[in-house]
Amino acid sequence: MENEIRPPRRYKRSKLPKLVRWIFGLIVLSYFFWRLYTVFIVQNEYTPDIWVRLLISGLVIGGVYSLIAIGYTLVYGILRMINFAHGEVMMIGTFAGYFVFEATNAIRFTSSTGEITSLSNAQPFLSILLAFIVGMTVAATFGFLLEKIAYRPLRKAPRLIPLISAIGASIFLQNLAQLLFSPLVRDYKNPDLIARGQGWAITVAGARLTIPYTGVLTFSLSIILMFALYTMVRKSKLGKSMRAVAADKSTAALMGIDVNGVISQTFIISGMLAGAAGVMWGLHNGLVYYYVGFMPGIKAFTSAVLGGIGNIPGAMLGGMLLGLIESIGPTALGISYQLKDVLAFVILIIILIFRPSGILGEVLSEEKV
């Protein structure tokens, strides 16, 4: 009897996770609806201008998130890995921009009218352009080095190994910045032309509110960059080879595409976008410190997943949506503004549970590994 072979237990797919999933979803949804109902119908104390103000700030933040999210999406599409250190690349861009503004602010001369001005105020466009160029270049360099040092040797490793390497790189870069520049929170020195808090005054429903100059700069620049990137990926030769490598690395190599080169260029491009986003973040929010990249990085990843990771229009859409949700959400739900990060994470979890492929679907990664 003891040698009798036990028949394998019949495998029954449990319905429990699905049930719990739906109960979880229902609870969250009904909570949202209840809060929305309370805020809009029962209390109804907000005037339209408040919503417009939140909309504007949401679009600005959304633009920054979109730019960073594109970096996540590009890398994920090609290497199927989450570049966890991408937020730190953005942080480096923010610091680079900070130093440019410090430098241009330190160069002082007497202008033709006889006042002493700094270079950043005398030539604001030049200094802003310089900040963006330096920020993008430095961030792109770090993106390139990151791939070369931390990811390239792990190209053939199981999927979790590069993720851990990326986490290590993220911790390393954060602490390097902390040791180099001290944990101090520093102020961005904007040129007077786009000083923080200044803006065009408009009137909405009888109430006056301002559209900040930095916000306009951030939003329009991010739209331009996104458009440029989209055209590049669609039309240029590099974009074509990027898509080819994303579809199938070995076949792309057989077609004469330099796979390593394309991957390097992808990291450079995503680093440039992150650097630009970093300078925008500094100009708009005005604070720079070693931890500045972490939260935007996680949020941008959330946006990339929200739109469908691997999908470039999805990343743009997801970034904008997340920016709007984050700025309007706490007020609309009537919860404390402290909890906006919780809101973002809850949305991330819900998306991953119910629609892991995101709103527009994963375009670049068809095979589910």
Binding site: P8, R9, R10, Y11, S14, L16, P17, V20, R21, F24, M81, I82, F99, E102, I149, A150, P153, L154, A157, P158, R159, L160, I161, P162, L163, I164, S165, I167, G168, A169, S170, I171, F172, L173, Q174, N175, L176, L179, L180, F181, S182, L184, I298, F301, V305, I335, S336, Q338, L339, D341, V342, F345, V346, L348, I349, L352, I353, P356, K368, V369
Partner: protein, 521 residues
């Protein structure tokens, strides 16, 4: 000499030059020099700088390392020396140029600490050996000679006669060992292990009484992290789910003990032991609530979701929303410690005992689990989900069970942690805690108990003992994670595969069975 020889050495020298410049910018050179001087018994007062000799020593060691690593293994001795010469010269030139800038800063008296926080004038002087304008030349000479020395060392140590010498030593040692084994009396063989455990037990009983409260604190910390590491290892190492929000379960345990045992905000004062049980239970409940909806998620998505979960818990603990319930950002103070047979049992010695006992229990539980049917099912799920499913392993139950058990360990450690510190707050449960525990696993070796202990000691114990490296701990962590993943993904003390086949009487022998350690998706 051809170009293929020069260019890699040049690159090496340049890279190491940049590394050294970063060292100087973050004041790491002074830290290493301080540690070297302590190693040689010099008494360095905290905040003062070490003697310049030790800076020279550090730079020589660095240069020797450069020479050692630049000379390629299969080259002729002259080639090796040439490579080292090129690398050393490049390194010297790079640092010489850097020295000129530094010297300029000293001469003009510019203080750059507003931007580069660590670059104090005293540290710069120390790095330049206080020689001013001739220090670039000194550095150039020093690095060239040191690099050549390193290369020479490699030539000597890796030479034919040297390797024969080492082989001779090794075989002699093995012969001695075999002889000793043959001569061991039977009773030692039989009870040796038992005696060893007895000795360790006696040491564990008496040492905490002798070596003072600071050592107790360090040992307790390492012990707690071993427990946490074992818990996370069940989730990551055995069942293969990458979890980045482990601190959330830790927080569950800590807050349960804190809320039930502190005068504020509730003043329930339930007592330590029952609240510890409740803490474990709360952690398990949290694991079920998190686990059920996210089961079956892809590996990297699961990592991010658990990260989000950990952050949600931390932000909620910190937020105004729960301030009246959890004490908000200020945390909970004056947590009452445990009692034993009516006597207070909460001196630092007692906590060391508690932690050591719990640690040993955890190790035993882990060992039993690993060899059990469930443990093997976990490994099967980790290695190949589809095959495991086809052979009748219930994926969901097993994964969830792993999550719950891991969470239980975290709750346990969290409860003891809160009571030992008599305080817990949101900052005790940051993302960094989760990352630290994961790093312990990866640095030590996944699925290996000695590895976890080694990892916990390296990452939590050493920084406590060597206070100088406190500031650089996380930097080294991050770098270490990357380097480990590239060069040694199985960890410092990799696991050996338990001989399950033999235990089961199964004659199936696999050639080249997949490695146990490491992380597979």
């Amino acid at each position: 000499m051809n170009k293929n020889l020069v260019s890699p050495s040049l690159k090496r020298g340049l890279t190491f030059g940049i590394v050294m410049i970063i060292f100087v910018l973050i004041d790491l050179d002074v830290m290493v020099a301080t540690m070297l001087s302590k190693l040689f018994g010099a008494n360095v007062i905290r905040g003062s700088l070490p003697d310049v000799r030790f800076m020279v020593l550090f730079l020589i060691l660095f240069g020797m390392f450069v020479g050692w690593s630049t000379s390629s293994d299969d080259a002729k001795p002259t080639t090796k020396l040439f490579q080292a010469l090129v690398a050393g010269l490049t390194l010297g030139v790079v640092l010489g140029l850097f020295d000129l800038i530094l010297n300029q800063l000293i001469v003009t008296g510019t203080d750059v600490r507003k931007y580069l926080a660590a670059l104090a004038p005293e540290s710069i002087r120390l790095f330049l050996f206080d020689q001013g304008a001739i220090s670039p030349l000194l550095h150039l000479g020093l690095f060239t000679v040191a690099s050549l020395l390193g290369s020479l060392m490699k030539i000597l140590l890796k030479s034919e006669s040297a390797s024969r010498f080492f082989k001779g030593v090794k075989s002699g040692y093995q012969g001695l060992k075999a002889k000793a084994q043959a001569n061991t009396p039977n009773w030692v063989k039989k009870y040796g292990k038992f005696l060893l455990f007895l000795l360790i037990g006696l040491l564990a009983f008496f040492l905490p009484r002798i070596w003072g409260s600071y050592n107790n604190y360090v040992v307790g910390l390492v012990g707690l992290y071993v427990i946490l590491g074992i818990g996370l290892n069940i989730i990551v190492g055995l069942s293969g789910q990458l979890m980045l929000g482990f601190a959330a379960f830790f927080a569950m345990g800590a807050y349960s003990v804190a809320l039930l045992n502190a005068p504020l905000p509730h003043g329930i004062m339930l007592g330590f032991w029952p609240s510890l049980l409740i803490g474990i239970l709360m952690a398990v409940v949290a694991a079920v609530l998190l686990g059920l909806p996210v089961m079956g998620m892809r590996g990297d998505y699961l990592a991010i979701v658990t990260l989000g979960f950990g952050e949600i818990i931390r932000i909620l603990l910190k937020s105004d929303l729960l301030t009246s319930f959890t004490g908000g950002p200020r945390g909970i103070q004056d947590i009452r410690g445990p009692t034993l047979f009516g006597q207070p049992f909460s001196s630092d010695i007692d906590y060391t005992y508690i932690i050591l006992v719990v640690m040993v229990l955890s190790i035993i539980i882990y060992k039993r689990l690993e060899r059990s049917r469930t443990g093997r099912a976990w490994l099967a799920v980790k290695e190949d989900t589809k095959v495991a499913q086809a052979t009748g392993v219930n994926i969901m139950t097993n994964k969830l069970l792993a999550l719950c058990l891991g969470a239980a360990f975290a709750g346990l450690a969290g409860g003891i942690f809160a009571a030992r510190n008599q305080f817990t707050g949101p900052n005790d449960h940051q993302l960094m805690v989760s990352m630290n525990i994961l790093s312990i696993l990866i640095v030590g070796g996944v699925n290996s108990i000695p590895g976890i202990i080694l990892g916990a000691f390296t990452l939590k114990g050493l920084p406590e003992i060597l206070r100088e490296i406190e500031n650089y701990r996380l930097l080294v962590f991050g770098g270490l994670l990357v380097v480990m993943m590239i060069s040694r993904p199985e960890g410092l003390w990799p696991a050996t595969r338990p001989n399950i086949e033999k235990d089961e009487g199964n004659k199936l022998k696999e050639d080249g069975a997949p490695g146990e350690g490491g992380l597979n998706d």
